[in-house]
């Protein structure tokens, strides 16, 4: 399966492939350009032989100070037809650059993409609703980024509330 898939992707999507890093991993993986992500995912899903019909996982990594570009969005696809074979697509992306959404192909991608946007600050174009999912709407910053302060500037909104409560309180009586 590994060889077949590698050959298929290398011949069919040669222009989309990016040079791969040597990673010690238990998964087969391909780095691809972000523009061609929807086409690659759709083709692999529709192909009767490969049938990667299950989006297994979707997340992102912040490589701050280690690699360029800064982020990588990682997709894990599974093919139930081929003995539940899993493989990974990696999409390198710089700061402020949007990645095309695949929520039109897999409805399952809706929340994970919003989560990545919320916690890592990578936005997805053509997503039906690119809003925060987990953190409150007025939260400042993206907490899973490596440069996010651990004490959290996002605490401001709580402190602000405490201040108003105490300021308005009359403590003289």
């Amino acid at each position: 399966m590994k060889e077949k898939l590698t050959e298929f992707i290398q011949t069919r999507f040669n222009d989309s492939l990016l040079p791969q890093r040597d990673i010690n991993t238990n998964l087969l993986y391909f780095s691809i350009k972000k523009e061609s992500l929807p086409t690659v995912v759709q083709t692999l899903k529709d192909d009767p032989e490969f049938a990667f019909t299950f989006l297994n996982d979707l997340t992102s990594i912040d490589w701050l100070g280690k690699r360029e570009p800064r982020f990588e969005v990682v997709y894990l696809l599974r093919s139930p037809k081929n003995n539940h074979f899993r493989f990974q697509l990696r999409v390198p992306v710089g700061e402020g650059e949007p990645v095309p959404s695949i929520s039109g192909i897999f409805p399952a991608a809706n929340w994970p993409e919003r989560e990545v946007y919320d916690l890592m600050g990578i936005s997805f174009s053509n997503h039906p609703r690119m809003e925060r999912l987990i953190m409150p709407d007025n939260f400042v910053g993206h907490p899973l980024r490596k440069d996010y302060p651990l004490e959290g500037p996002g605490q401001d909104y709580l402190i602000e509330d405490l201040l108003t409560i105490h300021v308005e309180e009359d403590i003289t009586d």
Binding site: H84, A108, D161
Partner: protein, 406 residues
């Protein structure tokens, strides 16, 4: 407080042009049926659900960020707090991932005990799900009837790990301590009592006419949609898809034991309950095959720098004392690499994706938690149904807030 106001304002905007006669109802965040803290903003027309929005994030503790600060053994306590109904399953999932990365082969004794504890936890989780579902629909005695058996399992965990809820079971390379002498006898006793109790529970609750009519054909999802939404575990199997990580991608000794995968037909609330009932029986079958065969031997792998040396060696040997300090201060050494390892938790596929740069803590930890993937299908599952049916659908999905937000 601020958060709640924000979301209310937000949904006010989304649903601002409500047709005449339509109402907005807040189901949760603090409602007996929204296990943990979940908010569903439901637009209703009479008793019919027109549209819903789910709000999550109320118990978010940013475990993935904590994982980047803690060492590999310390992160174990975070996994305890994910699915708090069956903690050992999360613990084992995490430990297996780290062991895979370090290429540690644990002794058979450890794997046997881990499998037995996994299956007991699955039973524990399903008891809560099915029992509480009865409570949500107005039947309290079913839960009480089974809770006694769940308590028995808790006592085993307490004796084995020292804690009931947050077990922090296992360590990288083995277990924290060996099993106690009566371990096997006690588990056999539990199984003996549990078997008739499950039958009685089925008679009492599932064959009950009211329960049956309130769950049959309610909150159903087709196999195709379930796969599209990334369902896994009992919820996917109830839709008729026989996928189970224990069979598809076997870990530990699951390929060496006999068990069946129960499947449902239409993925309705009743099917999900029935699949869970049958899974409990299958788990008991697995335990019965393992319980008498626990091999003798050490309870941790003989790999230096991973496991705390025994105390007598620490007190009498300088080298061992240094190892002891090194493990406490710097944790275990995981080579550079990226791994994804999936296990079948009670709710479905629980995957840990870990990026290591060879340092004390992982560079990135991501948890693929089953709840997160199927809860997003909730609006689709309840649309067009009755408001009362949303309760049955939600209970049967077994959404655990701690796992959902992580």
């Amino acid at each position: 407080m601020v958060m709640y106001e924000k979301t209310a304002e937000h949904f006010g905007q989304k649903f601002k042009d409500l047709p005449e006669g339509h109402l907005l109802v807040n189901l949760g965040p603090s409602h007996p049926a929204t296990h943990g803290i979940l908010q569903n903003v439901i637009q209703i027309d009479g008793e019919r659900v027109v549209d819903t929005e789910s709000v999550i994030g109320y118990v978010h503790r940013c475990f993935e960020k904590l994982g980047e600060r803690y060492d590999y053994n310390q992160f174990l306590v975070c996994t305890d707090r994910m699915n708090y109904v069956s903690t050992p399953l999360n613990n084992i999932g995490w430990i297996l991932t780290v062991e895979k990365m370090m290429q540690i082969q644990v002794p058979d004794r450890v794997t046997y005990v881990r499998m037995i504890i996994s299956e007991l936890s699955r039973i524990m989780d399903h008891i809560i799900c099915n029992g509480i579902m009865g409570v949500d629909l107005g039947a309290f005695s079913g839960l009480l009837h089974l809770f006694h058996h769940r308590e028995n399992i808790y006592q085993i965990l307490e004796k084995l790990t020292g804690a009931r809820l947050t077990t922090t079971f296992c360590r990288v390379g083995g277990m924290e301590r060996d099993i106690y002498p009566e371990f096997q006898t006690e588990i056999k006793l539990i199984l003996k009592g549990l078997k008739p109790a499950l039958d009685e529970f089925e008679e009492l609750l599932i064959r009950n006419k009211i329960f049956n009519e309130r769950t049959k054909g309610i909150g159903g999802i087709s196999a195709e949609r379930a796969i599209a939404y990334g369902f896994s575990g009992p919820n996917l199997r109830a839709a008729g898809v026989p996928w189970d990580v224990r069979k598809n991608d076997p870990y530990m000794f699951y390929d060496k034991v006999d068990f069946d995968i129960p499947v449902g037909e239409d993925g309705s609330a009743l099917d999900r309950t029935l699949v869970r009932m049958e899974e409990m029986r299958q788990s008991m079958r697995i335990i019965e095959q393992l319980i008498d065969g626990i091999p003798e031997g050490p309870y941790h792998a003989d790999v230096p720098h991973t496991f705390l040396p025994p105390k007598d060696r620490v007190y009498n040997n300088m080298e061992e004392l240094i190892y002891h300090f090194k493990i406490i201060m710097h944790g275990v050494k995981v080579p550079q690499g990226e791994y994804y390892h999936a296990t079948e938790a009670a709710n479905g596929e629980l995957g840990f994706y870990v990026v290591s740069e060879g340092e004390k803590s992982p560079w990135r930890v991501h948890v693929r938690r089953p709840c997160f993937w199927y809860y997003q299908a909730f609006p689709e599952m309840v649309k067009g149904g009755l408001l009362a049916d949303t309760i049955a659908t939600m209970s049967s999905l077994n959404v655990i807030a701690g796992e959902l937000d992580c």
